[in-house]
Amino acid sequence: MKTDFQLIAHANDFPDLEQFRSERSGAEVVFNGIVRTPNKGSEVLYLEFEAYEALFHNEMNRIAESLESQFQINAIVLHHRIGRVLPGELAVVAVVYSQHRKDAFEACEALMNELKSTVPIWKKEFNSDGSFWVSQTP
């Protein structure tokens, strides 16, 4: 299983996914997470993402191994922005490559659920009413 986990500093630095494609992976499921506005009634100005990079890589490797034990997976990619991200920009790209579509869908959705549970990235939302840290888990 190939993996590629990166924190991305600028909107144009997301890697091209072409390199992960292969004729052995019939299914590629991509989740593109985009900064959305409005959110809960307020106009979002931007988000600020902060990450703990060493732990990010270790957690992503743990998650990838866990997913590989549950699904047929050929490659897993997670690219996440850090710093200031504007509405309409990509915040996260999560991709799973599998021989078959069902595994690719389920593993990609599980990857996003894991990301939101334990991967050390924090988000502060700046909107027309002020700012706050978004708290999801634990």
Binding site: E59, K116, W122, W133, Q136, P138
Partner: protein, 79 residues
């Protein structure tokens, strides 16, 4: 005795990073360190934490020694 602890997110914004947590002895369990942290930084109250040792997540019962790199993590919110 003080143990250096790295903070992130809202914790870092509030207290800076790193902070030094007063502990009676080392090694102690992760849970004991969190209790000591909450005593000293009472405004965090019942905010749940994750804790990382040497850049891996650990559990409440895991031991922390003086040379370990420790980080306290507020609720994550990636994506």
């Amino acid at each position: 005795m003080k143990k250096e602890v790295q903070l992130f997110g809202m914790l870092k914004e509030q207290y800076g990073s790193p902070v030094f947590v007063e502990v009676s002895d080392l090694p102690i369990s992760a849970k004991e360190l969190i209790v000591a942290f909450r005593m000293q930084f009472q405004e965090v109250q019942d905010l749940p934490f994750l804790i990382a040792k040497n850049h891996f997540m650990i559990q409440d019962v895991d031991l922390i020694d003086s040379t370990d790199h420790i980080a306290l993590l507020p609720p994550v919110s990636g994506g």
